[in-house]
Every structure is written in C-alpha cells, then in structure tokens.
C-alpha cells in the first residue's frame, strides 16, 4: 500500500472484507480489480462520481423517512461507492443457509397455527409463543394459501471477528430495503461500468419479476391472470419510496386502505373503470393495521372486512397474517432447534448467542453484565430502543435494568459482536466502517434469493448500528459468478 485513496487505510483488529492483515495489509484476491480501480481515482474523479450518485438518488426520489426527528424527516439514503464483493464459494453457503432457515421458519409458523407439535414436545416453551404480541390466535387452524407464511423475508447477516457469517435477525413481516439494492446497482453500473463488467457479477435485476411471480403463485383464482396490488400505509411511511418503486417495477397498482373495499367476503379495488376484484395483496403494513374490524379498531389504514375475505380464502396476503411471531427476537433464539426438529439437520448458518431475560438464569447474567452486552427489545425493528453496553452511560444502564425487571419477556441480550468492516469513503478519506448484509428471500413456487442483498454500513465512526434510521448508509453488493 502506498499512494492513492487507500494510502492511510488500516484494518486494525477487525475482520476486514477487503484486506488481510499479514504483517502488512494485503488485498484479498476477489477485491483486486475494485482496489486497483478505486485506488487510482483522483479526488476530482471521485467527487464527480459521488455527486453523480447523489443527484441520481435525488432525481429518482430514493428517500426514506426518519421518525421523531425535528429537522425535516425525509432524507436521501447515504450511498457509498466502494462495492462489497462476495466470492461465489461464500455465497453458495449463505444461500443454502438462508433457504434452510426460511423453510424452518415457515414450518414453525404452520406448526404453531395448527397442531403445535414443537410446543407439545417441549422444544419451545409454550409461554414464549403465547406471550408474543404478534401471535395471532385468529388464524389458528386456517390453511394459508399454498401453506406459505413468509413469502418475502429479509434476514440480517453479520460477520464476526473470524469472518463467519451469522444471522442477526429475520424480518418476516414487511422487510424493506430491496429498492435501494436495485437503485445502488443501477448507479454502480454507471459509475464503474468496466470494472463491473470485467468482474462478472451476478445480476439482481430479476427481483421485481420474481416478486411478482411469488405473489401470483398465491392467487386463489389460478385460472386467470391474478390481480395483485401493493397495499401501502401512505406517503408518511418510512418506506413509501420503496412501495412506489416496487409497484412500478412489477406493473401492479399501489393502493391505500381507502382504495379497497370488501364486499360479501371478496376484496375489490376502486378504479376509474369500476370495481376490480383483487386476488393478492402485497401488504406493506403490519397485521395490526390491515383490518380495523379484526385488529386495531382505531386505525383507518386498513380495509374493514379484509380478514373475513382472507379467512374465506378469497384473497391472499403476502406476507401471511401472524408472521410476526417468527420476527420476535425471543423466537429467534430457538431457530436452531426448529431446524433440528423439522428438517432433521444442523443449521448451516450460525446464530448469535442470545440471552433471554425471560429465563431467570439468563436475566441475572444480563443484569450483572449490562456493560458488556447489547440489549434489544424483542419486538421492535429499525434499531429503535437498543442499549449497547460498551457505549452506554450509567444512567442508561440503570434505566434498562429497571425495564428488564419490569418486563423480562420483552428483552433479550447478546454479546457485542464486532462486525466485519469494509473500506468506506468518509470525510477523512477511506476508512473502515462496520457492515452487515440483508439478503431478500422470496418463497413462492420455490425459494429464490437474488444474489447478494443490501449491504448496510454504519457511517458513524466505530458505530455498530447500521440501520438507516440510526445513521446508516448502504453499498452495492457484488456476488461473483466464478
């Protein structure tokens, strides 16, 4: 390493995606072309490419919304020009591991909402399931279309100090981020066309089509072309850009609750040509809001009567109702047992060791070691409401101690894992920043995963939180064909 963009780069003690440390820093073979190209960039060229990327995001309106922020809530999602590269051999294992996981989670949900065998055999405590706020008694015994619960899953993967891929969480309700993955790719193809081409990167562009096929697979009327719609909570939702993006890419209507009407257990969409029967709803709002007659009755986002139509089998929902149970971070701790039980196999991907505050032994350990652990609420998403022990004040820790004792079921703790780092353009030059990976899994006729996923990067120095709502950015992810 001498001159160029990477001249001051240090891997430190972290696992670095791009470099080995063997007395001196050495570029990993699968990064060589990227390294050469970027290292040779002049400051001007770099600025040009960056502003090209930013203006492209602005023009396309690629934004997200941060809740609870006083300085204007809509933001451009920060994007970093250094792509993350994943060699094929690594990806193959990740892909198999994710398939295994989504199968097990679906079998688990089917089991819980039918004969509940895993509870009867004592593998998962009954209490855990019954106390989960997303456990929907309403659908017990109901056969969901095609027996699939989680059609669209976004699992968060991290790599630890040794570079081992681990699953951090599964998002089985309404995972978002796939639009950034597609936009990032479009920008990278324009910014580095030659490097992109010479590296033989697996394409991701098929995602909208695969998603549409996944939705169509669920249609209760297989005899005709299914009518699919995307149900969005509206423009104030943090992922509204993504809703419009996906609807446009798939060529289906984007609707809000007031655009749909349930009549006689069928769901119709109001159009300029009159009512059109809807077969499949890709809903981007939580169970709680989809039907005020069934769930939260003070919400106007949903469609009254939707659940009746769903339970009669006249309309399908993706994801199914009740999948939040698989999202629960307490359930997460039992996924290895599920894989063992339903599939008779060992998990391919590791999980992060999890302490359940609900168990007395674990709770005592957590309370004594708060400064070394990360504490997460069991049923929040977006990185809200977390405590990172090493970066917390005494006041915060005491606060959490109180909350854990008050409501142990709602908290879990995990050892702090030093996520792998990736070179990232920062104000001070290229610096190592922590990254994770969110692949998107589609489960329709078969399970499909577009190669790679959304790499999220914690842009704040030393931060381990990659969520967009907490100051994270993203990178394009290149899975190599060979």
């Amino acid at each position: 390493m001498n001159s160029g963009q990477f001249s001051n780069y240090q891997t430190k003690s972290f696992f670095d995606e791009m470099f080995y440390f063997d007395e001196k820093t050495v570029v990993k073979p699968h990064y060589e072309k990227v390294y050469k190209r970027l290292n040779g960039l002049s400051a001007d060229e770099l600025d040009a490419k960056r502003s090209q990327a930013v203006s492209s995001f602005l023009e396309h309106g690629v934004t997200f919304t941060v809740y609870d922020d006083s300085d204007g809530i809509e933001r451009v999602f920060p994007f970093d020009l250094i792509p993350r590269v994943i060699p094929k051999a690594e990806w193959v294992i990740v892909e198999q591991g994710l398939k295994q996981r989504i199968l097990a989670l679906n079998l688990f949900l089917h089991d819980i909402y039918h004969q509940a065998r895993i509870l009867k055999e004592g593998i998962i405590p009954k209490e855990i399931v019954e106390t989960c706020p997303y456990y929907r008694k309403e659908i017990i015994g109901f056969d969901v279309p095609q027996d699939i619960y989680i059609h669209i899953c976004g699992s968060d993967l991290i790599r630890n100090e040794e570079g081992t891929y681990m699953v951090l969480e599964d998002n089985g309700r309404c995972p978002s981020g796939v639009s950034y993955l597609l936009e990032n790719r479009a920008i990278m193809k324009r910014a580095f066309p030659k490097t992109y081409q010479s590296m033989e990167v697996c394409s991701v562009e098929a995602y909208p089509e695969l998603l549409l096929r996944t939705l169509e697979h669920l249609s209760p009327r297989q005899s005709q072309k299914p009518v699919c719609v995307l149900l969005s909570p509206g423009v104030y939702n943090s992922a509204y850009f993504e809703h419009t993006f996906l609807a446009r890419q798939m060529g289906i209507e984007i609707v809000e609750g007031r655009d749909l009407i349930a009549i006689d257990n069928y769901v119709f969409m109001r159009t300029t040509l009159g009512l059109v029967q809807v077969d499949v709803i890709y809903r981007r709002l939580d169970d709680d809001y989809i039907d005020p007659l069934f769930f939260k009755n003070d919400s106007i986002l949903g469609v009254p009567g939707l659940m009746e139509a769903y339970l009669k089998g006249n309309v399908s929902l993706a994801n199914a109702v009740g999948t939040g149970l698989a999202d629960d971070k307490v359930t997460y701790a039992f996924v290895p047992e599920m894989i063992k039980f339903y599939l008779g196999q060992d998990p391919i991907l590791e999980s992060v060791p999890t302490y359940l505050c609900w168990r007395e032994k674990d709770r005592n350990y957590v309370l004594e070691n708060l400064d070394k652990l990360v504490v997460k609420p069991a049923n929040e998403s977006g990185g809200y409401g977390m405590l990172i022990g090493t970066a917390s004040t005494k006041q915060e820790r005491n606060d959490f101690k109180f909350r854990i004792k008050e409501n142990p079921r709602e908290y879990i703790a995990q050892p702090i894992i030093s996520l792998s780092r990736h070179p990232t353009f920062c104000d001070e030059g290229v610096m190592g920043r922590h990254v994770d990976l969110r692949p998107f899994i589609l489960y329709g006729k078969d399970i499909e995963i577009v190669p790679g996923g959304l790499t999220r990067v914690a842009l704040k120095k030393d931060s381990l939180v990659v969520n967009s709502s907490q100051g994270g950015g993203s990178k394009d992810t290149w899975v190599l064909k060979n």
Binding site: V92, L107, D111, E121, Y342, L343, K481
Partner: protein, 284 residues
C-alpha cells in the same frame, strides 16, 4: 455439472387419515460421481424429522404424523454437483463373460445376482436375455445390448403398469415406465450372471425439445458391475449411458429398496397423488 432438483409430492385423502408413518429416500448420495451440496426435506403437516443410514448405504429420513390430516405434502430441494463420468472413447470393454465367474462368489455381489421382490429370474427372462446377447462375449457390450433391446422393443406407457408390477408381467406386456424398464433390464442382466442393481434418481433433460422420457417425475435406471471397472449406469428408458446429467438418490436390489416415499397410515386410499419434479442446471 451443478444441478438443482425440486421434488414435490402431495397426497390428498378423501377423509381424515391418521397414524401415518413414512420413510423417504430423497436425499442424494455423495460419492465419487456426485456430491450433494445441500438437501432440504420438509413435510406438512409439520413433524419431527429423523434419519438413519440403511443397509444399502442410502440415507433415509423418517417421520410420523399421529394427528388426523387430509393432505400430506413432502418437498425435497437438493443441490448436487455431478462429475463427468462417461468418456465415449473409453467404455469399459474388455471384460469377457467368463470373467463373471470370478465375482460370483463375492459376498457384495450376491444380492445383485439373485431374484428379488420385483425382479424374478425365470426361464423366459433367461431365454430372452440369451437371444439379446447373441454372440457378444463382452460384459459391457451385453449389458448395452440389453438396454438397447428394451428401449427399442418396449413401449413407454404411463397407464399400463402400477408401482407394484413385477418384471415377469412386464415382459409379457412389453409396456411400462422407467421403473419397469429397469426391472426387466436387471432381470435380464442377472439371468446372464451380470450383477445389476436398481438406481433411483433424477436427470436433467438437456435436449432442446425436452424429448427424454421420465423427466417429469423421479426416474430409475440400472447399474451393472464390470469387473475391474466398477458400477456403470445404463438408462433403458432413454437408451443412454448414465452421465453427469443424472443425479443418484440411492441404489438397491430393486424398487423396494429405494422407493422415494413409502409408508403406512390408518384411513382410506388417497384420492390423488401429485408429483412434481423439476431439475434445473445452475451456473457452474
């Protein structure tokens, strides 16, 4: 060749059935010819999956569903890497029929030389096999002729035979599916003293118009033992020497040893059994 198989089986019953016990042989083998990268087998209604290795070296998954149910769904998803295994310039010719005497006493071959549940070695089979052999004195040549004879003289028909049809009845009808063709080929080989076994699996139909037979369901073919060369696969349904487009699930004396799904339950016969197999070629 990297291949992906999705094998889905759905049984629907007219009334609730219960106490269902099943064994599945759906896990591809890993051996010199192929390596199973991953195999995910799922069953609905949900159940606890267990496994064991049977006497033929095949991996068996088994489960039980005591609760009443109307439908049984079994899905297997496997990714397999197969290696190139046929060199058309170097078929294992050169082993003469009299050399078969040497392996006759070999303990491991005995199973594959006798009659078994589906395969009966009768004078009729032997007579036919001798005719097909003609004046060939080479083991591989003879086995190849048997494969070709069945391919050319037996009609591929889905509706003539059932899963329980024995080789003797197929020889009379001269009709059947891959399972039947394999049983007849095995009977003919064994009657001449060539060790032959039944292989269950899948193949990737690489022909442009998908003209090969049996790709829509699980497939079956035979393997014959050539002294000094090992087991060689021959597919009488498609008249092909088995190459890297084939995926082996397991092998045994006949269908009974390697049936993909077998089991018992308490209740009425299924109204339907739908099998859907798709084999895809993955990039490298």
């Amino acid at each position: 060749m990297r291949l992906y198989v999705f094998h889905k089986t759905v049984y629907r019953y007219p009334d609730q059935v219960s106490n269902s016990f099943n064994e599945m042989r759906l896990h591809p083998l890993s051996n010199d010819l192929q390596k199973c990268e991953s195999c995910l087998i799922s069953v609905l209604p949900t159940t606890c999956m267990r496994e064991y290795l049977d006497l033929n070296g095949n991996l068996v998954q088994y489960f039980e569903i005591p609760e009443p149910h109307l439908k049984l769904l079994i899905e297997a998803r496997s990714t397999v890497n197969t290696v190139k295994r046929v060199d058309f310039d170097e078929f294992p010719y050169g082993t003469t029929m009299d050399k078969l005497r040497d392996i006759e006493k070999n303990f491991n071959c005995r199973n594959y030389l006798q009659s078994s549940s589906y395969v009966e070695i009768t004078p009729t089979v032997w007579k036919e096999a001798v005719d097909v052999r003609g004046n060939s004195n080479d083991v591989f040549q003879t086995a190849y002729q048997i494969m070709e004879f069945i391919y050319l003289n037996y009609e591929y028909s889905n509706s003539t035979t059932t899963v329980d049809t024995l080789s003797s009845s197929i020889i009379k009808k001269r009709k059947g599916v891959c399972q039947d063709f394999a049983h007849v080929a095995i009977a003919m080989c064994r009657s001449l003293g060539i060790p032959a076994r039944y292989v269950s699996g899948y193949f990737f139909d690489h022909t442009r118009n998908r003209s090969m037979r049996g790709s829509e369901a699980s497939h079956a073919w035979i393997e014959v033992l050539i002294n000094g060369h090992g087991w060689y696969g021959l597919d009488p349904t498609n008249n092909r020497v088995v190459d890297e487009t084939y995926i082996i699930l397991g092998s045994g004396r006949d269908y009974r040893d390697v049936a993909p799904i077998t089991g018992t339950y308490f209740g009425r016969l299924p109204t339907s059994m739908d099998v859907d197999v798709s084999v895809k070629k993955l990039g490298n």
